[in-house]
Every structure is written in C-alpha cells, then in structure tokens.
C-alpha cells in the first residue's frame, strides 16, 4: 500500500483509509531486571540486551540476560515458595488467580499496546484476541484450583513442584498465561523464560503479580536467549518442563532430559492442512483461509499453511483468495485498521525470505499482490501464496512461520486425507464442507491434535490445545491441560 498524501493509505482497490492510530502508550522502563522472589533484580551476569520494536527497529528497553547463577536463584526462590503455595487451600490459590485475571482486564489496553510494540502484531489482534484470552486463561484456571479432586475422578492429586516453562515470541503474553495459569492452579511454582525478542509483557505481568500480592517466589521470570532456556529446562530443581517452540529445540530438550524421570510437554511446529471441498460455504472458507495463514503474520504454530482445494473449484477459489489478499492492509501495527503487522525479528524475516526464494527456485508460482511499498524501517513481509506447488516442494514441507501459503489441489476425499497427513507434523487441520457426514469422517482421520471444521484458528481456555507426531505431546487448556501439572 502506498502513501498518497498526508498519511492517507491507498489499498489495491483504491479505497482510502485515514490513519487510525491507537493512542494509549504504556509506560516502558528503560531497563528491566529479572523477576525473582517477588522483586526485580539486576542480573548477576551484568549483561543486558536490547528489545526493539520490529515495526521501527527502535529500542524499547534493555532486558537482563540471566546466567546460571540467576537461574539458580530463581529455582531456589521457586523451591522455597513451593510448600506453602501447595498447602494453600485450592480456593485461596484460585482467588489469587481471579485477582490477577481482574488486574489483567483492567490493564488490558496498555498490555495490548505493549505486546504490539514489542512483537509487531496488529493492535486489532493483541486487543481483540490475545488479551481477552490471557484474562480468560487465568479466570478459567482460577476456578479449577478448588475442584482438582473431581477433575481426576476422585483421585487425590498433588502438585509436581517447580515447573520450568519456556515460551515463544509469537503470542508472548498468551503463552505465558497458557503455561502459568494451569501450573499455579494446581499448586506448582514456576520459573518462566520468555522469548528473547518479546520479554516485555511477561515482565509487566510480573508487576501485576506484585500488585495483587502473589506470594514471592511463586512465579519467577528469567529473561535471555536460548542458553538461558536450556539452563531452565535442565535444572535439577525442575520437576516438570513445558516448552512451546520449534521442533528442533523440542528435540534437544527431549535429549537433554532423557536421563531424567520428569514429565515433559512439548508444543512444537506444524504444517497444518486446510482442506476446502467443492461443497464448502465458499465465502466463509475464504475468510477461514485468510485467518488461517495471515493471522499474526503467519507466526502461528497451527497456521493453515497448506491449502488443499478440491480441483473442480481450484481456479475460482484461487482468484477469490487473490482478491481478498489484496485487501489486507499491511503496515503500522498500532493502526487499528492494520491486518498484517511487522515480522517479529530480522532473523525471522531472513528465514521467511530464504524459504520463499527456495520455493520460487523449485518452480512454484508466487502470488504477491501488495502493489504498494512496505515501510522503510522495521521488518516486513507481504502476505502471499504459492500455486503450482508439489508435495515435495520445500514450501509444502517446511514450517515457514510467516505469511506464506502453499496452495495445492486434490480430486477425492481419500487423496485429501492422504495429502493432509503426509507430513511429520500433526498440530492442526481445517475442513470446509457443508456436508456433516464428510466432516466427521475427515476429522476423525486427520492426524492432528486440533481439527477446525468450517472455522480456523479458534482458541479458548476450556479447549485443549496440542499436537501429535512431531508437533509435540501433552495438552494445554481445558481439563486435559491440567494433567501435566499434577501427580
């Protein structure tokens, strides 16, 4: 999209939009310490790193880099806080979480803006999706704390102890909520390691924990890069490890923990199929495909990154998808009209670029209808899709984690099932058809942990999330998500 005059935005259709910037500005400190034992501390490493706004490239703050001594201190704090937190009546533990949920709601606009500034996602998404779900996760799990006995068929369950949790950069605060809420509700204490590029909202969540008087040490947050994460996962004090991130890192954590008898849950990568049958509600399917791949710049582990369209409607469907894609507004994430924001980091941008180049070199046809230039500063990649994709092509096999869709076709339901399952991943799948019996048959045969039927990318605190095969194991959310946090 181009800048015609005085900031007015012109889309491919020629419609004009005035800028609609979100004006709330959260207070951002110049430097953040590690959250250990209920207070912010300078790192013993003495090292800090910058966290930047990926839409501008500007530094937002300096973040502490935790080393082994810091991780040890966080673990000691979590261990010290454990017995008292575990002994607390479930009702009382739950009330802390209810309080926290309320504080999150009260601060939700500031947190949404902060999330958008630190991570690059459109404010419309952080405001309407991330933050409401964050609050819901704490509300939902708060209510489990005094009902655990019944959650497990009358068995008396106990917390596991200190949980080491490592989260990614695509939904920073939401992933923190997914990990923290069930662990705390079940009476565990936590050492959480946010992603290197997106630590800010977790650290602001820590401030809210101080405000609601959460007992010190129940949650500890150590910031840093992959090495800090490895220290958390492999720490001898940890009694349960939960990781969300890439399959490669998940594999390393499995190897690291092989000699230990502690439970592990992994929520890893995906290459999920979105299957559109000729008898689908086409308008809804188009919107579902858009939500499936271009939501959050495609930085979604369960993104519907492989579109399988029944051959008889392929041509018309692709034409409509192209038209719809042209209407997506790419740009300032803080503009309330923006659909696709900034790529989270330079590193991720380079990865997307190299995979798209590989796709072109293999002969797939790139459709990129963003005629207007992208912003000069920051990290950007326009929404796009490939046609002429063969199953063996790199863009059909590898997780791109960007706004890049691979379109393929099929002739029979059997072929659709076979192609959808022809991947080492197994996180999610989408099915679009108006025929109920077809939905049940295809859904039951998808090798995936989540199947969205005539919808896509829906999330809820009550709905278990997680994959099969190389997309990991264990569930987060719902009754099934509690199981990893009790013994």
């Amino acid at each position: 999209m181009g800048q015609s005059e005085a900031g007015t935005v012109v889309t491919a259709q020629g419609w004009e939009y005035s800028p609609a910037p979100e004006r709330t500005r959260p207070k951002i400190d110049s430097e953040y310490g590690l959250f250990i034992g209920g207070e912010f501390r300078a790192p013993q490493t003495g090292r800090v790193f910058d966290t930047i706004n990926p839409a501008t490239g500007e530094r937002l703050a300096r973040i502490a880099e935790a080393g082994q001594d810091d991780v040890d201190a966080a673990m000691a704090a979590a261990r010290a806080a454990g017995p008292k937190w575990a002994r607390l009546k479930g009702r009382e533990r739950g009330k802390y979480l209810f309080r926290l949920a309320r504080r999150i709601q009260e601060c939700s606009r500031e947190l949404a803006v902060l999330e958008t500034m630190d991570g690059g996602k459109p404010i419309r998404e952080s405001r309407d999706v991330d933050l409401p779900l964050v609050a819901q996760h704490f509300f939902y799990h708060a209510g489990w704390a005094d009902k655990l006995h019944w959650a497990f068929g009358g068995r008396n369950v106990k917390p596991r102890g200190v949980c080491g949790q490592i989260i990614p950069w695509n939904f920073p605060l939401l992933m923190a909520a997914w990990k923290l809420a069930p662990a705390l509700a079940c009476g565990n204490t936590v050492v959480l390691k946010p992603a290197e590029t997106t630590s800010l909202t977790a650290l602001h969540l820590a401030k809210l924990m101080q405000e609601i008087d959460l007992p010190p040490g129940v949650v500890n947050i150590v910031t840093g890069a992959g090495e800090t994460g490895r220290m958390v996962a492999s720490h001898p004090a940890v009694k349960k490890v939960a990781f969300t991130g890439s399959t490669d890192v998940g594999r390393k954590i499995m190897e690291e923990l092989a000699p230990r008898e502690i439970p592990l849950t992994l929520e890893l990568g995906g290459k999920s199929a979105n299957i559109v049958f000729a008898d689908a509600p086409i308008e809804q399917a188009i919107e579902g495909v858009v939500d499936g791949i271009w939501f959050n710049q495609g930085h979604v582990c369960c993104a519907g990154s492989r579109l399988l369209v029944e051959e008889s409607i392929l041509e018309s469907f692709v034409a409509r998808l192209r038209d719809r894609m042209a209407q997506l507004r790419v740009g300032d994430p803080l503009d309330k009209n923006t659909d696709v924001g900034a790529i989270n980091s330079g590193e991720q941008l380079r990865r997307i670029q190299s995979l798209v180049t590989a796709g072109q070199e293999e002969g797939a046809i790139l459709h990129d209808v963003q005629s207007a230039p992208l912003p000069d500063k920051g990290f950007w990649f326009p929404p796009c899709f490939f046609t002429g994709v063969q199953p063996a092509h790199i863009v059909a096999r590898e997780e791109i984690f960007g706004p890049v869709l691979a379109v393929m076709s099929f002739r029979t339901p059997e072929e659709a099932i076979r192609r959808a399952n022809m991947t080492p991943y197994g996180l999610a799948a989408g099915i679009w058809t108006d025929k109920g019996s077809k939905i049940f048959e295809i859904a039951s045969r998808m090798e995936a942990g989540i199947v969205w039927c005539n919808t896509y990318n829906q999330y809820d605190a009550a709905s278990p999330f997680g994959g099969v095969k190389e997309s990991g194991f264990g569930r987060e959310g719902g009754l099934h998500g509690l199981r990893a946090y009790v013994q």
Partner: protein, 289 residues
C-alpha cells in the same frame, strides 16, 4: 514303551505369521530344574523392524473396527486364555513359580483381559468431554488410537504385565509390538497362539521374544512407532530409549517396576493408565443457522 515328547520351538509372531528369527538365532528355555523345555526364536533388529511394518499394516483394520467389535475380540482372547490356562500355568511353573501362585496369575490375567475388553467402548466417555467455549461453537475432545505402540515387558509378573500392556494398547485401538524378555519367552509364544485364534486382524498384534536391549534403538528410533511403553528397564536402558525417541518426538511412558501393583485395577487398568495409549483430538464446529 516310553514315548519321546515333542518339544515345541517357540517362534516369533509377526503379521499373523510364525517366522523364525531372520538371524536364525534361538535361546533355550529351561525349567527350574535346569532341563530344556523349549527353544524360542531370538528376535533380531531386523525382526523388530519387520514387526513394526506389520503393525503399521495391521493398524487400520483394528483401529477402524467398531469399539464393540474390538471388545468382542478381546473377550474372545480372554476365553482362549482361560481354556488354555493349564499351559500358561505350566509355563509359569517352569519359570520357578509355585503352583498356587502360577494358577492365581493366570486367573488374574484372564480377568484383566475381560476388564480390558469392556473398556473398548467406554473409555471415550470417561476420557473425552465437551468443552464449553466462550463463543458459538460446539467443541469436544475425544481420545483416539495413537498408532503403533511398542511394549517392552518386565520379567515380573511375567504374564499379567504382558497381557496388561499389550491388551491396554489394543483396547485403545492401537496396533502393538510386544517385546518379551527371555525369561517369559514361552509365555509370549503362548499368548501369540491365543491371539491368533481370537480374530485379531493380521499385524494388529505382534510378539517378539528375546533380549530387549538390542531392540531399544531400532524400535525407539522407528518413525512408524508412535508410543513406547516400558517397565522393568534399567536406568541406562530407559535413557537410551528416550534418546532414540527424541529424534522423532515419540512418546515414551515408563511404568515404574518397583512399586507398581499389577494386580490392582486402580493402578494398571484405570482410565489414567489407559490414557497412555490414546491421543486427544479436539474438534471445533460453529453453531448457527
């Protein structure tokens, strides 16, 4: 005139067939007096890979059968176990078990199989649920078979643990490769003979006898294996199995050997035990007109 007894050669059970080990190796099964009772095939790494291929082929007909039918097949297996109870008792006694203890283990095993048969069409109602989401959607979570399960059986209790691990995996709709240690070799062969006459589809269940250690890497690292469950492995072997499983992000479950009461249904036949052999699938559909 004395008659020369016919001594059985125990073979592997793979894909509904009874091959010897491709390596040709066997091991001797002795009774508690040191007399040779039988020889069993010593499963090789290649045998283990063939068993996984057979299980993969046998998965669909077993998994896609109705739960009611799977329950009937397992109940039939319980009937066959009961009618061949004397053979199992003898094999247990050959391993040094007292007569009364051996008879009791056979009875517990038959009863365990009956219980597992009954779980086939009920487990979904206990482990699955409807999720009340904050929007106009129907959302439910159902347990499904994982795929191919490999069960590494402990030496003790030899028959009950074997049938529990194998039967639990099968009751949940998985195809299974059961690895039986030398000391229970003949029990493994007898169990295969029971299942072979119980309408189990070819390949849905497979039994390998011999040494477990050499099979940890080929089975643990096999991409067609979804889940590994073990009991009685030493720490080094458990670590090795988990390392082998890491490459393909496979599920590894360890049932503690010490402290597990295999006779207690609450410990080894509860929904929480069976949960190790299912994957959960959550389905969303909009509600509206």
């Amino acid at each position: 005139m004395s008659r020369l007894p016919v001594v059985k050669t125990g073979k592997l059970w793979i894909g509904g067939k009874w091959p010897r080990s491709e390596s040709g190796a066997t091991f001797v099964v002795e009774n508690s007096k040191g007399e040779t009772v039988a020889r069993c095939a010593l499963a090789s790494r290649k045998d283990s890979r063939e068993a996984v291929e057979a299980a993969r082929a046998g998965l669909a007909p077993w998994r896609d059968a109705t739960s009611m039918l799977r329950g009937q097949v397992l109940y039939r297996a319980a009937e066959m176990l009961e009618s061949r109870g004397d053979e199992f008792t003898t094999a247990l006694r050959d391993g040094g078990m007292a007569a009364a203890t051996a008879r009791r283990e056979v009875e517990l095993t038959v009863d365990r199989m009956v219980m597992l048969a009954g779980w086939c069409d009920k487990i979904h109602q206990i482990l699955g649920c409807q999720n009340s989401v904050a929007g106009p959607y129907h959302n439910f979570t159902i347990p499904q078979a994982c795929g191919v399960v490999v069960a590494f059986c402990p030496e003790d209790p030899p028959l009950l643990s074997m049938v529990t691990l194998m039967g639990a995996a099968m009751a949940m709709g998985n195809a299974v490769v059961t690895v039986v240690p030398r000391s229970s070799g003949m029990l493994g062969v007898l169990l295969g003979e029971v299942l072979a006459v119980s309408d189990v589809p070819s390949g849905a269940a497979n039994i390998l006898t011999g040494d477990i250690e050499p099979l940890l890497d080929p089975l643990g690292g096999h991409r067609e294996v979804a889940v590994m469950v073990s009991s009685g492995l030493k720490k080094a072997a458990r670590t090795r199995l988990r390392l082998a499983a890491a490459d393909g992000i496979r599920r590894v479950h360890t049932i503690p050997w010490t402290g597990t009461d295999w006779e207690d249904d609450a410990e080894t036949c509860s929904p929480w035990f069976l949960e190790q052999f299912v994957e959960f699938k959550t389905m969303w559909h909009p509600a509206g007109v």
